[in-house]
Amino acid sequence: SQTIHQWPATLVQPVGSPLSLECTVEGTSNPNLYWYRQAAGRGLQLLFYSVGIGQISSEVPQNLSASRPQDRQFILSSKKLLLSDSGFYLCAWSAWTGTNEQYFGPGTRLTVT
């Protein structure tokens, strides 16, 4: 069966510091990968998605970037965090076959102070 991992679970960082959040998927090959941010009462906002190694599409201009160095690894980064980057970050995967169900990881709660 497939499993998706995210770490860290919780992170408190000062403004201006760098960020690196990691997501890995087990039990599937060539998944589509997604980064979302969830704000209270506002649903899920798609930040980045990837259909393959090195292929990243950005949905929203922002202070963040994403990379996919390996087939089942997805990384969300920032060089300098802003207060507005605080939120709950979720990684998700879907099968490359085109079925649309997305499966989410446990999330990382980021607080920028």
């Binding site: 009462g41 649903g43 899920l44 879907s94 649309n100 997305q102 989410f104």
Partner: protein, 112 residues
Amino acid sequence: QKEVEQDPGPLSVPEGAIVSLNCTYSNSAFQYFMWYRQYSRKGPELLMYTYSSGNKEDGRFTAQVDKSSKYISLFIRDSQPSDSATYLCAMSGLYNNNDMRFGAGTRLTVKP
């Protein structure tokens, strides 16, 4: 107008009640519909998905889609305290990777 509208609640029901959760949407290109359950401080968990109008049943859960009215529902029968969570609807076109849209979520509490 938002593409997906979902009443945020909160919704509070007694144990054993039938719960009805709803979403409306405006984009007729949406063909694939999903419901997620999210416990506090956890990632969303896929409950049900369907791509056709009508009803789909899975245990105590029934997903209903009315494409003509652009309206989807999730019914929970014999609700349990463990059903207390936020429920998110989601929808997308067929065969697309990046067009999934989510409702804001309805917070449900089932009281023993």
